[in-house]
Every structure is written in structure tokens, then in C-alpha cells.
Amino acid sequence: MRAVTRFVKSGVVGAAMLAAGATGASAQDSSDPIRIITNNWTSQLVLSNVLGQILQAQGTNVEYKSSDTQLQYTALAGGDMDFQVEVWEGSQAEAFEKALAGGAVDYGAHEAVTREDWWYPKYMNEMCPGLPDWKALDACAGKLATAETGSKGRFVGPPADWGKHYSERIQALKMNFQEVPVGQAATLWAELQAAYDRKEPIVLFNWTPNFIEAKFDGQFVEFPVYEPACLSDPKWGSNPDAVYDCGAPAKGYLKKAGSKQLGEKWPKAAAFLKKVNFTNPQIAAAAAMVDVDGMTPEDAAKKWIADNEAVWKAWLQ
């Protein structure tokens, strides 16, 4: 019994000392680890590792925390995690805004832009002349029909909860299509791989930058060009009675996000992270090392750091 109390006591003392150490060092960057969020796609993983490794080289402690794309914003706002390198406008804008209202901090945009929309492999250009125009695709619906969709063309859509309104778009544009939402991204790629190998027609949801462009040759379908009014004013566009009669923005932002305490506890690191700025080619190259060359994200990050010294040295100034 006595041994137990002694153990507990020493634990308490230890914790108190740790806490004292943490507050004492507040003038400099804290020795606590910065918790960098990792998601489950390549570019994000490699970029997170790039930044983590640079920070570590500067003597900052870093911890990687894997998280879901939606929940990470609650964690950022609540101070449970500290930094996210890829905030996508198309799929995460809403949750990101909410997090900003809840205390998270906008760490600025990358030069890279993002796009999320309907996408098809290049060999379909011969099957459906007129692509990438959406009207040509609509005319080609019969070739994309399956047993389940009947006479309608099959569009392999994103997971239903990703907040896209493709069924509405199909209706608004009076397209002869049906959306079949998948459960997760892996399903999209399995569909694409299978169709690609068999040279079958397929139209599916895709985004850039990601590893798909390195492995598969294809392009986005061109819908009526996006304007904010399209989503708010039914009169806008070809269908006077409906919204969503347009494509998605072709140049969505890619931002960085941090927790409130990031700037307070690690001012030097925060200044660096604010300056971080990746371009589309840089991101694609980073992802390709993993997806095409089969490296681990850690090794890919190491190689990227070695290859792009000038780039990241500038961010540290």
C-alpha cells in the first residue's frame, strides 16, 4: 500500500515538473510536440511529413496524428490537433469555416489550386465524340448504361456525404444520367482501374491534385462555367427553374489551417508554416514518389526535402 502511494506521489510530482517546464519555456517554442494532422491520401501525407521533418530538423518536436477529414476541424478548433497542410475548398470549405468560427486559424493559401468534378479516361474521346463538353457526354449516355441504371448513363459519384449535388445537377441540366454514389474513395479507384484495364466507358468523380493523374490518362468534363449565382439564383443558366445547372469551380483554393495555440506556443514554427506554399507540380511530384515509385511517405518526404532545398529554405527566412 505504502509503495503504491509513493508511486502515485512521485507521478504527481513528475507531472507538476513537466507542467512547470512547459510554461517556463513559453518565450521560446515549446518543447511539446506540434500535432500535425495526417489524412489518408498521398499528397497530404507526403506534405505533412515534409513539414514535420523540416520542423524536426529545426529542433521542434512533432507528432503525427491521423484523422478523418471532417473530424479534424473539431479537433483543430478544440486545440486537440495543431496543423493541417491541405484544406480543400470543394469538400471541406464548410467544415473549415465552422472551425474558424470556433477558434481555428487560417494559415493562408497555397499557390496550388484544386478542382473536383466529373472526370473520364481519355480513350472515351473516341467513343463519345465532342467530349469534354457535357452535352456530348449526355448524348453518349446509352454507352454508359448498366443493368442497374437501365437506359440511363451511370455516373460513379463521390460518397453521398461529401456534400456534392450531382443528382441535382443531373436534374437541373436534364441529363439522361443516374448517380451511383460509392462508399469511399478506394471504391472509385477500383472502378476506374477495372474499367481502364478493360477499356470500358466510365464517368466518375475525381479531383486534382491527386495520384490519379500520374497513373491514368483522362480529363474533367466541361460543364457550364461556375459562377456563384448558379448556386443561389435559379434564373441563372440554362435551366431557369433550378440551381446547380453549372460545373464546379475549376480553381478552388488549397489552404492551411492551424490551432489557436500553435501561434502562441510555437511562434517560430507558426511563422514558418504561414509561409509554406506548395504549387500543383510540386504536390503532384511528391505524391508520385509514393504512388508511382512505391516509396513510403516518410522516404518520399526525405527525398523531396533533399531535392527542393531552395524552396523550403525560403520559407524559413
Binding site: 489518408n40 491520401w41 498521398t42 501525407l45 496524428k65 491521423s66 484523422s67 478523418d68 477529414t69 471532417q70 473530424l71 479534424q72 473539431t74 479537433a75 486537440d80 490537433m81 448498366t146 443493368a147 442497374e148 460513379v156 460518397p159 453521398a160 456525404d161 451511383v180 454514389p181 460509392v182 462508399g183 469511399q184 474513395a185 478506394a186 471504391t187 479507384w189 477500383a190 472502378e191 482501374q193 477495372a194 484495364d197 478493360r198 495520384f211 509514393v290 504512388d291
Partner: protein, 650 residues
């Protein structure tokens, strides 16, 4: 045989006509009613009770209020995990302590295997651990192992305590039984939602979700074990003058040891079954890497990682099983300490030697990357080859099943008015078990309807029915075949074992490549899991037909087919029914997994609710699946019981 047949016939002749006519009449009336009064066709959206919102709000409020408590619990659980992680792969950098070198763990596993189960087990343990190093999965595997090593004792101890409590209080047992029924019928994934809200993302929440899932079997085994300790042994304990505590620790628990170890075995298997799913809430390790591989379409790599999980599961399974079979050994008096503890000593020496050696040869500290192998490439190619070359044959089958079976069935289910859907199981329940059993489906399904889950519920029922029908068509003949030929039995058993321990996520990708994102893909993915019990129970049911009965039938001049149809199948029927019951449970468990393919059923509701922290939606959808399982279980159980009684086997 004659006497039981005599019992069956009048019962069969008496029961159906009246009952059946009455039931059909009621159903027809309900159908007509539905056409006349819309409320009795589809429950109006406006009358849906916003339970899910309440649950979500409650959890959000609770999470906020209980934050200090949940944080404290998370911190507490993180400590043992940190210790194990430090030992296995992290080391303590601050003190310049290295983690255990990989040869120490590989050989240590072999040593442990030898201690528990002799040379064969030692070989299995050693080779399986070496696989982890050889295929470059070491750190991930150690992360997974760390979670397992911390979660298993935690789940085992909490299950044990709950089980003990249940044996001490009848009321506690009743309450716990209901809770465990629901917990076990709720898909793994539904646990993640509340846990994420309360504990956030990462290893500890994953541990807690696993804990919730792995605990009921342990508690059940504890109850069973203590209840089945022979009365004489308990009374001997009483008469020796044991206090209640002494009785528990010195008599009941040791005497129930085997059943308790069975529970432990279940805990281990459940924990590993959660390994992949838990990575959806941020548990790192093999499961996370596996999902990542799938995300990158690297099926081969995913298979390597899946095999690693399976190997860990097999090793731990065999270890606990061997431990269960072990008998206490006589130790000759005067055996020296070193000899009595030779395994411990050997392990100590091993650790010291490997750590020293690892200082000189870094390859012994961390397995060098250059020496790792991979068979992922060929598997990738094989899967793509299959998708390319088998597709032309699969496509017509796929299309005809979709057009002629699945789509009509789906439309039929969606057409059915709700009173009919609720009425059918209620009537079946009334027929087999009286009004109590009739009220169960009314209450549970009614609740789901009022909570606004009707369409996903019907789509779930549709998928589960389709799967069950196909499982029966496939599983029963295979079971019969296995019961006839020992060789077939061995092959089928091996295939079944593999199917059940291999992480189900991996099947999904090839299935999608061949069958696309469709209901058929869902059905086939469920099929891979759910056929197993249909096969197993048919096989076991046939094996348990009394030898004398079979011989009597043969002596009476029955052909093999007659014997099967008239003697063996009827006697094995209750057992086969239980197999179908299990099939339904498995199919339901897979509903949540198939959500990853894409569907609109309750599984999808769970999956969708996960990232949005929409606890009410996920939890209620999980309960919905549990409800279907419980209803099926009770109805089929009552049916099997009735048949058994009629056969004089109850």
C-alpha cells in the same frame, strides 16, 4: 424414430391451416388498407420523431460536460499503451533506451510458443513474427500488437468483473444479458461514432471502441464458466470455510479456467477483427496502412498487410487455445529455481544478448529495408488479370442476377406498406412463441420507423434477405458434401477459417472491379462471410445425427438420397436453422462494411454519420441493424426450439 415421427405428424396436421389462413387474410386486409389510407402505406415524414437529433444533441452535450472525465480516462489508458509501445517499437528516446530489437521479439514469441504448446507452436510463432519483419511491416505490426496487448487484458478484466457481478445477482445478469445481446448484434463500426465524440481520434478511442466490442464474449464466458463449475466443487469450497472472496478466487475462477480462457480467446479475436475498423477513428498500425493501401489501389500491399493481421490473429488464437488445453504439470520436488523457470531465464538471456548484439550490428536493431521482400506486385497483377479476363463471363451473370432477382426484390420491399412488414414477423412470432414474441418485432421495427429509418431499413432487409437466400443455396449443399467426404470437410474448413480471419476490406476491391458499385457487389461481399455458418452448421448438424438412426435407415433399405432427405436433414434441421440464424447475423455484421462499396442501407447511415459526428444517426442505425438481428435470432430460435421439442431432442 417412429415415436418422434408420430409426434410430429399430428402437430403438423393441426397447426397450419387455421393459422395460415388467418395470417394471409390479415396481411391481405393490411395491403388493401394501405391502398385506401396512405398513412398505412408509407409513414409520413412529418410524423417522424426526431430521436436522432435528440441523441446527437445529448452526446454533444454529454461530451462537453464530461470532457474532464473522458480526458482523464483517455490519459489513464494512454499510459500502459505508451509503455508497451516504448517496449515494442518506440523506445524511450529521452533516456536513450532502445526498443526491443526485432530478433528478441521474434525469438521471444517462439519461446513463448514453446512454453505453451511445444515445438509446432514455437515454429508458428517464430515464423509468423519473422514474416512481419521480412515484409517490412515491423513498426506497423508492433503498433497494432501494442493496442492488442493493452486492450486484451483490459477487456478481459472488465468482462471478467461484469461476468462475476452477473453470477452474484440475477437482476444484474438479466440486465447485462439484454445489453450484451444488443452490443453483440450492433456492427463494430457503430461503436466508433459515440467513442469519437467522447474521446476524439487516435489510439485510445480505438482501444475503447474495441473494448466495447470485445467485452461481452468475455463476460458471457465468465458467467457460463462459473455457472458450470460442478456443484460439489462449490460446496466443497463452502464447507472448507471459504469466505465469499476466497470462494471466488480459490475455487470458482480456477475451476472455470478453461471457459475463461475460451473467453480470452474470443476477446483476442474480436480485438483483431477491430484492428482495421478502428483505424477509421485514427488508430495507427497495420489496419491504417491497409486502408491506405486500398486507397492507393495497391491491393497486393493490402494483402501483405492483411496477411500480417491474420497471422497475428492465428498466432494469438493458437496460443490461447493451447493454453486452454494445458494441464498443470507435476513438478518434482527439489527442482532447482533455474530449471523451474527456464523459459523466463532463457528469455532474459535472449533480451540481454540481442540488445548487446544490436549495439554492434544495427541490422539487428531495426530490420534493414534492403532485406525486405514483397509479393504485392504479382497479386496486383493477378487481381487486374482477373478483372480483365473473367469480366466477360461475369458480366452476363451479374446482369441477369441484377435484373431478375435483385431489382424486383428491391422494388418489392420498397413497395410493401409498413403494417405488412411489421405484421409478418409479428405473426411468425405469435405462431412460435405467443404474444410476447409477437410484440418484439412490433416494438423494435416500429421504433425504427418512427425514428425515420424506414427506407434504409427496408434496403438492409432486402440485402440481407438476398444474401441469406444465396447463402442457403450455396452453403447447405457444401455442408452436406463436407459431411459426406472427410477430404472435402478439410478443404472447406480451411477455406472457411481463412475467409473469417482475413480482413474483409480486402475482398471489397476485387469484388468492385468485377461487379462494380452495385447491390450485387454488396451481396457478394456479404456472401463471402455469411456462407460460412450455413456450411458449418449443416455439416455439424449432419454429423450429430445419431449413428443408430442412420444405420436403422440404411438397414430399412433407404438409398443415400432417401436417407438424407427423410432421415438426416429432418433431424439436423434445428441445427441448420441455427446456422441460418448465424448467417443472418454475419450478413448484418457485414452490412456496415459493405457501406464502403456504396449502398443506401443502415450500414451506409453508420458510415456516413462517422465523420460528421452525427452520433444519433450512426448509433440509431447501428441499433437498427442490431434490432433486425435480435428479431431474426428470437424468431428462428423459437422455431428451432419448437422443432427440437417435437423431435424429442430439446
Amino acid at each position: 424414430m417412429t415415436s418422434s415421427a408420430a409426434v410430429v405428424r399430428p402437430a403438423a396436421a393441426r397447426a397450419p391451416p387455421l393459422d395460415l389462413i388467418a395470417m394471409v387474410a390479415v396481411l391481405a386486409a393490411l395491403l388493401v388498407l394501405a391502398q385506401l389510407v396512405p398513412v398505412f402505406d408509407k409513414w409520413p415524414e412529418a410524423l417522424v420523431i426526431p430521436v436522432r437529433g435528440w441523441v446527437t444533441d445529448f452526446f454533444a452535450w454529454f461530451a462537453q460536460t464530461a470532457k474532464p472525465v473522458t480526458r482523464a480516462i483517455a490519459w489513464l489508458l494512454a499510459q500502459p499503451l505508451a509503455l508497451v509501445e516504448a517496449l515494442l517499437y518506440r523506445g524511450i528516446p529521452a533516456w536513450k533506451w532502445p526498443p526491443l530489437p526485432w530478433p528478441a521479439i521474434v525469438l521471444g514469441a517462439a519461446l513463448l510458443g514453446h512454453w505453451i504448446g511445444g515445438r509446432p507452436l514455437a515454429l508458428l510463432c517464430g515464423l509468423a513474427s519473422f514474416y512481419l519483419a521480412l515484409f517490412g511491416l515491423w513498426p506497423d505490426a508492433m503498433q497494432t500488437l501494442a493496442i492488442v496487448l493493452v486492450t486484451v487484458p483490459l477487456a478481459a478484466i472488465s468482462g471478467l468483473l461484469l461476468g462475476i457481478w452477473a453470477t452474484r445477482s440475477r437482476r444484474a445478469e438479466r440486465v447485462l444479458n439484454v445489453i450484451f445481446d444488443v452490443m453483440q448484434a450492433t456492427p463494430h463500426m457503430a461503436y466508433l461514432g459515440p467513442v469519437v465524440i467522447l474521446f476524439g481520434f487516435g489510439q485510445v478511442p480505438a482501444m475503447l471502441a474495441t473494448l466495447g466490442f470485445a467485452l461481452p464474449p468475455m463476460a458471457r464466458c465468465t458467467i457460463l464458466g462459473i455457472r458450470t463449475v460442478p456443484r460439489d466443487v462449490i460446496e466443497a469450497g463452502h464447507m472448507a470455510g471459504c469466505t465469499p472472496l476466497q470462494l471466488l478466487w480459490k475455487v470458482e475462477l480456477p475451476a472455470a479456467e478453461r471457459t475463461l480462457l475460451l473467453g480470452l480467446n474470443q476477446v483476442v479475436m474480436q480485438t483483431l477483427a477491430m484492428a482495421v475498423i478502428a483505424s477509421l477513428v485514427g488508430a495507427s498500425g497495420l489496419g491504417q496502412k491497409l486502408l491506405f493501401s486500398l486507397q492507393q489501389l495497391q491491393i497486393g500491399k493490402a494483402v501483405e498487410q492483411g496477411v500480417a493481421i491474420t497471422l497475428i490473429a492465428i498466432v494469438l488464437d493458437r496460443m490461447t487455445q493451447a493454453f486452454m488445453r494445458r494441464n498443470p504439470q507435476r513438478i518434482a520436488p527439489g527442482t532447482p529455481w533455474v530449471r523451474r523457470h527456464r523459459y523466463l531465464v532463457a528469455f532474459g538471456v535472449l533480451v540481454v544478448v540481442t540488445i548487446a548484439a544490436a549495439r554492434m550490428f544495427p541490422a539487428l536493431a531495426i530490420y534493414p529495408k534492403e532485406l525486405t521482400l514483397s509479393y504485392g506486385g504479382p497479386i496486383n497483377d493477378a487481381v487486374r488479370w482477373i478483372s480483365r479476363n473473367l469480366f466477360p463471363y461475369v458480366k452476363p451473370i451479374r446482369d441477369s442476377i441484377t435484373i431478375w432477382l435483385l431489382l424486383p426484390l428491391r422494388d418489392f420491399y420498397l413497395f410493401l406498406p409498413w403494417p405488412v412488414v411489421i405484421g409478418i414477423p409479428a405473426m411468425i412470432g405469435w405462431h412460435f412463441g405467443g404474444w410476447r414474441l409477437a410484440l418484439l418485432p412490433v416494438g423494435l421495427l416500429g421504433f425504427l420507423m418512427l425514428a425515420g429509418f424506414w427506407t434504409p431499413l427496408m434496403l438492409t432487409l432486402y440485402l440481407v434477405t438476398s444474401t441469406t437466400v444465396l447463402c442457403v443455396i450455396i452453403g447447405i449443399p457444401l455442408g452436406i458434401w463436407a459431411a459426406r467426404r472427410p477430404l472435402a470437410a478439410r478443404i472447406i474448413n480451411t477455406v472457411c477459417d481463412t475467409l473469417q480471419t482475413f480482413p474483409s476490406f480486402i475482398y471489397l476491391i476485387p469484388v468492385i472491379m468485377l461487379f462494380q458499385t452495385s447491390d450485387l457487389s454488396n451481396v457478394i461481399a456479404m456472401l463471402a462471410y455469411a456462407t460460412v455458418p450455413a456450411i458449418r452448421f449443416t455439416y455439424l448438424g449432419l454429423l450429430r445425427v445419431p449413428q443408430a438412426t442412420v444405420e436403422a435407415a440404411t438397414a430399412a433399405g433407404a438409398t443415400a438420397a432417401q436417407r438424407l432427405r427423410k432421415v438426416e436433414l429432418p433431424i439436423a434441421f434445428p441445427e441448420i436453422l441455427l446456422g441460418i440464424n448465424q448467417t443472418i447475423m454475419m450478413a448484418l455484421a457485414m452490412v456496415a462494411i459493405t457501406a464502403l462499396i456504396g449502398s443506401r442501407d443502415l450500414g451506409q447511415e453508420i458510415y456516413k454519420a462517422l465523420p460528421g459526428a452525427d452520433t444519433g444517426r450512426g448509433l440509431l442505425a447501428g441499433l437498427g441493424i442490431a434490432f433486425i438481428g435480435i428479431i431474426a435470432d428470437r424468431l428462428i430460435g423459437a422455431w428451432a426450439q419448437k422443432r427440437k421439442k417435437e423431435l424429442g431432442m430439446g
